[in-house]
Symmetry: C2
Subunit: 119 residues, 2 copies
């Protein structure tokens, strides 16, 4: 019978540990490996400062898990994100968070990656 008794283990929960009060965006690294960083980002009505544009060294693939947001790109595109929306933002594609829902926490999964990670 011994091998029928499995040790139960708990996975981590992406919805866990979200503070009710969020004076600024919460960015947490879930996994870091060479050339790769997986983050949980929690926004709550936050947006990028006016005229601020992200211009990142790494590519970013981002999935919206909960909430709602709008991304704006320097080339004029604008993109509404709802749960399940994902988009790839190549390095140096200037963009900003134009808006996130003020009524709930918006949870993003962000995967930052490089073409040629250090070996």
């Amino acid at each position: 019978m011994e091998n029928m008794i499995a040790t139960m283990a708990n996975p981590t929960d992406i919805f866990a540990g979200i503070p009710a009060d969020l004076p600024q965006e919460l960015v947490q690294t879930l996994l870091a490996a060479p050339g790769l960083r997986i983050e949980r980002i929690v926004s709550h009505g936050h947006a990028s400062p006016k005229d601020f544009w992200y211009d990142q060294e790494m590519h970013e693939w981002v999935l919206l898990i909960q909430g709602a947001a709008r991304l704006q790109f320097l080339d004029g595109r604008s993109m509404t994100m709802t749960p399940g929306s994902f988009v790839n933002i190549p390095a140096h594609t200037q963009h900003r968070v134009e808006w996130t829902d003020a009524a709930q926490a918006t949870i993003w999964l962000a995967i930052h990656y490089q073409d040629a990670p250090p070996v």
Copy 2:
């Protein structure tokens, strides 16, 4: 007024295009880069064959988006996954999908990565 007219663009939707009938698991690559592969996997009551164990060359970070599943590890651990559950499975950590919900589609986000991707 010209710069007030933004081109709207649609992100991709991780819930889109899920067939009602799923004779076998659906595995789709959402992004491929050196040393990195992001997949959507859709299960619907599927499980790994009995006595089959995944033994993968790449690490895998997996997030359950919708549905429910149970992972089993060769070391005896067992792990129930619900929406928001995530776990990192290092390369060559033998594991199998013991069970997925038969009543609904289970959607996984799987991030396969290497420590030292090819340059």
